[in-house]
Symmetry: C2
């Protein structure tokens, strides 16, 4: 069976200049994949009439579906309607359905329909409107070169609604008899990609052909991906998953495709327990990741970002003499921060971190990348010193993940020490 | 003068499936742009030998520089070296420089050089190594089709070092006489893209041809972009900038291309002042954004994430009777949170927020999207109720930006009320 060719064309100077990171194509691909389709190729160009014309001609000739994203906005650099009109050999005209959408959109917001917004209703003659339940720019589609070409807005929330409410349905109506590809993700923390690959190669040399093995390093998390598109593959994957769980053990964050914060919130909910955080070097990142999960309020009591020594003493009852004697980045201080977080919040569990995020503030004894972590409950607070040299953002991300992972392990009563204690242990002064 | 053609080819199933968002191409484009170069086109395909071969052939024929990113890792789905060897008609062989790099990389980490890592030294015969000062995979380059083809790893920190230390230098050595394009960004908060475009069209109909006007909506921030590539353009841009500052006034976050958190940290540093935060619905996002800025420790004292009512009273001295009477999302509570943040931390300024992030927890009286904000100093704490209905992540991002923007305005003694007070004011129960 010929595979359906779906291609993407993204447009925007901001995508070419590096001003923004393109998250839309990932959203489109993810939703298509969930529906059983794959994107074969994607091309990104700036707001340039000639380049856009050329790419639309080439891509539409080579695909069954071409999704164009971006360039529908109200400003001068939004060119998609104009270019598509030229490619399709149709004039631009004010589209009645688009104008009535714009009018009600403005009326709902007490805005006047201004000239830049009105431009968004000038569309190639004969297009079909793709409704936009969120924003001002409607999408539109046309058949060209024996390809269904659909133009979508760059604003992610608007794109998402159009995909969910119109585009996916239209694709499955037009191309119903498809092989469905399904992907299962196993998120892993604390093992590198090379290590995971080696473990799998050694332990499972009989890996089945029907299950495609892949990796995605979204550091500090590694996702092991198992893709299949047959019924036999699905059965084989069930066996692979069971073996992978044995092999990777406690390094697997979740077998339900949850993120690390989702997993921690879920475990706390299941056990009816609460958590508090006391953060220094991560500056609220752990609290922020936990509270990004809907429903976190049932398990998260308190976060303290104790950036100054005074606050460590004042809010978390860390003894000033201990800070004076040992320094803020020390075993005793992080232990007292954890104790303070428990006693101040009345929570069941706590995470505390204190480290040197850099770029400034490092010393020979405690260089940038050094971090003390404390975690546990009122029965037992554990501490560890680790070393993650690198840029500030990287350090904050990995320390936040370590804190969450240690609480996950405690909630699951995992006795085994994580591998990163050995590999990332701080080895003392430089 | 013929413009230098630089194109990118990104590879990875994870980029096609939507599993990860591609931030590398933005990094490459940004660094090239800072050096005066533009990327004209970028193509992304999965880990597929035939597709990769085809794209390398097509792109290298049409460009002067082709940067390939991804597929250099140790795992089975990393195909770049193999494909490039086929395209260039060279055998794969173990490259001495790559092996010695891998050996020292492993030795520094007490790792054994395993088979998956050793695969990273199997490169097309005759390539030039691009050193990787961070990770295990070296990059490499080759001249093919009269195009300089350079292969780089997918891990962002490794890619970044290669660009900075080798690739940008090599491009400017090979193609020295270039027109330099320069872009200036003016970040704006509190005005929509259409509104900004309309204001500019009306107030500046004589906009000069030598300055290209563009927009980037990285919500909730809008960047106004002024691009030029001539000396006359630069002079004209200086005039445009002065007029835009008059026109957009206090909505401009910074005229130094700073982010909102960078601007707030910078103003606090200039004025020798300190800040504390008391967050409920944003869950630490404001503190986390502030502390993502290097040097924040000199101005940020304390953040409290008071997710439960008990913590609001316990850590921030909010009166329990007030919470009981008015509810946690109320003017009095957020005011007392702000006062508590000031008195507990001894900071000069504070931001406090309490709202309904959703998806649960909304009522008819206080629906999802309602938020009370308080900000100020010991002389004057102001409060406001706003309404941002939408997904949890969107709500948290915009409320964090509002909090930071209000402190920015206070630090600059801006008297004028922000437009969003009028447009986004909560209008009472549904």
């Amino acid at each position: 069976m010929k595979t359906l060719q779906i291609q993407l064309l993204l447009t925007g100077d901001e995508l070419m200049s590096g001003d923004i990171v393109d998250s839309n194509s990932a959203m489109i691909a993810k939703k298509l994949q969930q529906a059983g389709y794959r994107v074969s190729k994607r091309v990104t160009v700036g707001d340039d009439v000639a380049l856009l014309q050329q790419e639309i001609a080439v891509l539409s000739a080579a695909s069954d579906v071409l999704i164009i994203n971006g360039g529908l906005g109200p400003t001068v650099d939004d060119l998609t309607a104009e270019v598509l009109a030229q490619v399709a050999g149709q004039p631009l005209e004010e589209h009645a359905e688009a104008i009535s959408h714009l009018e009600s959109w403005c009326a709902n917001r007490n805005f006047k329909l201004d000239a830049p917004n009105r431009k968004q209703a000038m569309l190639p003659k004969g297009v079909t409107i793709v409704p936009n339940p969120v924003g001002s720019a409607v999408g539109f589609s046309v058949d060209h070169n024996n390809c269904w070409v659909v133009c979508t807005p760059g604003v992610p929330s608007e794109l998402e609604k159009m995909l969910d409410q119109t585009i996916l349905q239209e694709i499955s109506t037009r191309f119903p008899s498809l092989e469905k590809t399904s992907v299962f993700h196993l998120p892993v923390f604390g093992l590198g990609e090379s290590k995971v690959q080696q473990m799998i190669s050694e332990a499972m040399p009989d890996w089945p052909d029907t299950v495609e093995l892949g990796f995605r390093a979204s550091l500090p998390i590694i996702d092991v991906k198992l893709t299949t598109n047959t019924y036999e593959g699905e059965k084989a994957r069930t066996v692979c998953l069971a073996r992978l769980k044995m092999l990777l053990g406690a390094h697997i964050i979740s077998d339900q495709e949850e993120t690390l914060p989702q997993r921690v919130v879920g475990l706390l909910q299941q056990q009816g327990k609460t958590l508090a955080t006391a953060e220094s070097c991560t500056g609220g990142l752990i609290a922020s990741q936990i509270t990004s999960v809907a429903g976190a309020s049932s398990v998260f009591e308190m976060g303290v970002v104790s950036y100054s020594n005074r606050i460590k003493s004042h809010l978390l009852d860390v003894e000033p003499e201990v800070i004076e004697r040992q320094g803020a980045v020390s075993c005793e201080v992080v232990h007292q921060m954890a104790q303070g977080a428990l006693s101040k919040s009345g929570s069941d569990y706590c995470i505390a971190v204190s480290g040197v995020a850099g770029p400034g503030g490092g010393t020979d004894e405690k260089p940038v990348g050094t971090v003390w972590v404390a975690w546990g409950d009122s029965q037992k607070i554990e501490t560890e010193i680790l070393y993650f040299p690198g840029p500030r953002g990287y350090f904050q991300q990995i320390v936040a993940a370590v804190g969450l992972d240690l609480i996950r392990r405690r909630l699951l009563s995992i006795e085994e020490e994580p591998l990163y204690f050995k590999q990332r242990k701080f080895k003392g002064a430089r």
